[in-house]
């Protein structure tokens, strides 16, 4: 049943997993995402029979995901930055073996053990690979508790459509904050058996093998080419982004996730003061909305990219903009969330510094 509720981002995501017919969750506690495991442990099995298992580590979780995903089930894990680092080998295997699954990273401040406060320092890791070899995850970046819920069924659909791991890259603030969320109607768990899944070989089909080992270089290159061709298709068809007040904008703020929302506020205050600011927010970090941003960049004077890191997405912004407009950067690190006034201040600073 559809329902309106006040929920934490992590809980909304967990609730969405149950509602989207997820078959299994494997995870390990880490702040600021433990509510996902806790919520699922409390409600999931009893409601839909979904498997929920606390693993002994993130290494075990992701390899449980590998095994279960290999049976064609809807499978997921979630963690936060250090845990996601531990999963990287497994994620690379999953990408190479072309297994659908959902991995959620509720990003906290790093490097190292870092801080449990929100950050966006894992952009490179999520978007550029993270593990070894040439592979890509489809990366969705929610900006609200609503999207923490809505992106879950979307992630599963994309994962199965492309037989590719999908990551929801959130952050500690989105995970912890409470907002009202419109919960979608619960879907029953699927019973269909994927033709490639290892579920036991019946007499009338060849055996199915899930592997990422292709020892002959020619074969390994073929596999790589096939993956790359898939990624090119994904880049063509799965780009998602949002623009706010961009039609007449002279200055553009680019940001993803939580920061994009803070940018909306900054832009609003700026407009009240007569500065025409627009906000461009990628919803898919991979595939990155390069074409749309390129188009937009021809119409603005310059761009300020804002992130909770030392400048990661800004590299993709610059690649997309291709020099059409100057791209400035403002970042906070270590768990500090920038304020709207701070962002607007940065923009004005650049203006008074001669950038008009």
């Amino acid at each position: 049943m559809k329902e309106l509720r006040l929920m934490k981002g992590n809980e909304a995501l967990a609730e969405a997993a149950i509602r989207s017919g997820c078959d299994a969750y494997f995870g390990y506690p880490i702040t600021p995402q433990s509510e996902v495991l806790e919520y699922l442990s409390k409600f999931a099995n009893m409601r839909t029979g979904m498997v929920v298992l606390q693993a002994e580590s993130e290494v075990a979780s992701i390899n449980m995901v590998y095994g279960a995903a290999g049976t064609g089930k809807r499978v997921m894990t979630s963690s936060s930055s250090p845990g996601i680092s531990l999963m990287q080998e497994g994620i690379s295997y999953i990408a190479c073996a072309e297994l659908p699954c959902l991995i959620v990273n509720v990003n906290r401040g790093g490097p190292g053990l870092g801080t449990i406060q929100p950050a966006q320092g894992d952009y490179f890791q999520a978007v550029k690979g993270g593990g070894h070899g040439d592979y890509r995850l489809i990366v969705l970046a929610p900006a609200s508790v609503q999207e923490m819920s809505d992106f879950v069924p979307l992630a599963f659909d994309l994962a199965f459509k492309w037989r590719n791991p999908v990551m929801i890259l959130s952050d500690g603030a989105l995970g912890q904050m409470m907002e009202k969320v419109d919960l979608f109607e619960e879907q029953p768990r699927r019973t269909a058996v994927e033709p490639w899944a290892t579920v036991g070989k019946p007499k009338d089909r060849e055996r199915n093998i899930i592997t990422s080992l292709f020892i002959e270089p020619q074969k390994m290159e073929e596999v790589n080419l096939k993956l790359q061709a898939k990624y090119r298709e994904i880049e063509k068809t799965e780009v998602r982004y949002e623009t706010v007040d961009c039609e007449d904008a002279e200055y553009l703020l680019t940001a993803y996730g939580l920061v994009a929302r803070i940018c909306h506020k900054a832009a609003q205050i700026g407009r009240e003061q007569g500065i025409k600011i627009g906000v461009f927010r990628p919803k898919t970090l991979y595939p990155f909305p390069s074409a749309a941003l390129n188009e937009l960049s021809r119409r603005v004077k310059w761009i300020l990219d804002v992130e909770m890191n030392a400048g990661q997405m800004v590299e993709d912004v610059r690649l997309a903009v291709e020099g059409n407009a100057r791209v400035e950067f403002h970042g906070r690190m270590g768990g500090i969330v920038p304020t709207p006034e701070e962002i607007l201040g940065k923009l004005k600073e650049k203006l008074s510094g001669g950038l008009s």
């Binding site: 290494v59 390899n63 295997y93 899944a197 070989k201 093998i209």
Partner: protein, 276 residues
């Protein structure tokens, strides 16, 4: 090709002709199990992996569970196990076979699931997964091939390498003061309440091969009961990295490996526990 090899080639050819005349239907006492694929294995001559593969597939055939069985290959010499077994299989990351097996078994509890792992895979990099999988009592079979070395990577020291045993990374013999002691992981697994049946077997003589097969048969039958993990260690050989002939390596198993890793059951369920 030198003269000696030419001579042995000729002899080999003669043997083959002889063998062909013996291989008639009425003389047949031994056949390839249907689920073992008719392909040449990549294992070195005399290696225990091939025997263990065969036994597993014999048991799958005898129980008629090909369509219900999912196997997991490790990273190690047996990484290609899926090339020989005609069942659905997954190849797991190094040490993570039991985690992958857990994932499979949890979503397909009716199916038979087994892992097949070497000592580096199961008792070094995968120790955590091994212990926790058995401690959760996952209803799977773990087949553990203990050959005292890392075969695939060229004979480095394994957690199971015997004291004094020479490997490429213990070239003067394993010094337990520096490199620690050989790990008897089956003994540890046997202490865990989640394990149901734990046994140590070998495949260096026909009599032991038959015993090992019985252990596998029992383990698959136990899996249906859903009462915990079955764990079969097979003390095996690695003629190539031990730098021995197959015959010498089997003798070495008997004289050196078995005194340290004595064969037999480490944990057996009671009759009450195995009653359906």
């Amino acid at each position: 090709m030198n003269e000696r090899t030419m001579l042995s080639e000729e002899r080999h050819f003669e043997n083959m002709i002889q063998a062909e005349s013996i291989c008639t239907a009425e003389n047949l006492v031994y056949e390839r199990p249907g689920t073992l694929l008719d392909v040449t294995m990549h294992y070195c001559p005399g290696c225990g992996h091939g025997v263990a593969h065969r036994l597993l597939m014999e048991v799958v055939d005898e129980l008629g569970i090909q369509s219900q069985t999912i196997g997991i290959a490790p990273v190690g010499c047996s990484v290609f196990a899926y090339n020989y077994m005609n069942i659905d299989m997954q190849e797991a990351a190094h040490g993570r076979a039991t985690a992958a097996a857990t994932g499979i078994k949890r979503v397909l509890p009716e199916k038979y699931v087994f892992t097949y792992q070497g000592d580096g895979d199961l008792a070094a990099i995968g120790t955590g997964e091994t212990i926790h999988t058995c401690n959760r009592g996952e209803n799977i079979l773990i087949v553990f091939i203990n050959n005292g070395v890392y075969g695939m990577t060229g004979g480095q020291m394994a957690p199971t390498t015997l004291p004094g045993m020479k490997t490429t990374t213990s070239p003067y013999g394993r010094d337990v003061k520096v490199q620690g002691y050989p790990l008897k992981i089956a003994d540890i697994v046997a202490t865990l309440p989640g394990s149901f049946y734990v046994t140590r077997q070998a495949v260096h003589t026909p009599a032991y091969v038959r015993k090992a097969k019985k252990a596998m048969l029992k383990s698959f039958q136990y899996q249906k009961l859903g009462k915990g993990t079955c764990f079969i260690e097979i003390v095996s050989n690695c003629p190539s990295n031990w730098k021995m002939t197959p015959v010498e390596s089997n003798r070495w198993v008997k004289e050196h490996m078995l005194p340290y890793y004595p064969l037999g059951d480490l944990k057996v369920p009671s009759e009450k526990e195995t009653a359906q």
